[in-house]
Amino acid sequence: MYFVEPRNFVLLRELEQAEKGIGDGRCSYGLKTPDDVMMYRWDGTIFDPHHSSSENGFYALEIYCGDDYPKKPPTVSFTQPLRMPGLRDDMCTVDFSAIDGLKTWKASYGMAHVLKCLYNHIVKHKPRSLR
């Protein structure tokens, strides 16, 4: 018998972590609606290190944590289309297999790690806005 923290309690822990603030403040996330008991939909933001292609100096993201989270990764997409490697054909949805640190998903990662990896990816690839 191995030890498994159930999805809902993982997400409650991640929510508490987000409310306290994660890392150096360059990334943040929170529930999209405060009464989403099953905690499916989240909003994320990543500081734009280049002050260029983002709106208001931050990239906005939508994060969806399905029933299989954290065994399966969340679905993450930028709310504005960007020209940058590592995105799917819609130029918004993140392709985890193309992002350093996310290529092999681990249940222990959490949304904080996902956003941090995306921040590093943005620093490296300097996206261009398609709007």
Binding site: M1, P6, L12, V37
Partner: protein, 150 residues
């Protein structure tokens, strides 16, 4: 860690053999630390007649740390927030390894009978409870009928 601590299996055995009145506990799937709880609203409370769902998890360090537990059913209660999180001292700093899952569930049941608006988790609800208790109790009863009908 190998196997499930005896403490946990003993607690489950006792909960099955000698259940808490108005409360049923079931293991979810194959995770022996994760439980689905159904709690009947106490009589003489605005939650009477409702059946409330909770989920409870025993963390790796249990019983050195308290169980984690929350309501899944929508509740109108000053000590329960929109995500079902419960403000109860024994789930936080007043936890002691001498307490058990049974004690926790009894305390939560008691909290439904005796809301404590002076130590709120849901501020808007607590405010209503303090300024117009009659209306607050009426709202709680309406929510019980709407979201927790057994």
């Amino acid at each position: 860690m190998s196997g499930v601590p005896k403490r946990i299996t003993k607690e489950i055995e006792r909960l099955n053999r000698d259940p808490v009145p108005g409360i049923s506990v079931e293991i979810i799937g194959d995770n022996i630390r994760y439980f689905s709880v159904a709690m009947a609203g106490p009589s003489q409370s605005p939650y009477e007649g409702g059946l409330f769902k909770l989920e409870l998890f025993l963390p790796e360090d249990y019983p050195m740390v308290p169980p984690k537990v929350r309501f899944l059913t929508k509740m109108y209660h000053p000590n329960i927030d929109k995500l079902g999180r419960i403000c109860l001292d024994i789930l936080k700093d007043k936890w002691s390894p001498a307490l058990q899952v049974r004690t926790v569930l009894l305390s939560i049941q008691a909290l439904l009978s005796a809301p404590n608006p002076d130590d709120p988790l849901a501020n808007d609800v607590a405010e209503q409870w303090k300024t117009n208790e009659k209306l607050a109790i009426q709202t709680a009863a309406e929510w019980t009928a709407k979201f927790a009908s057994a």
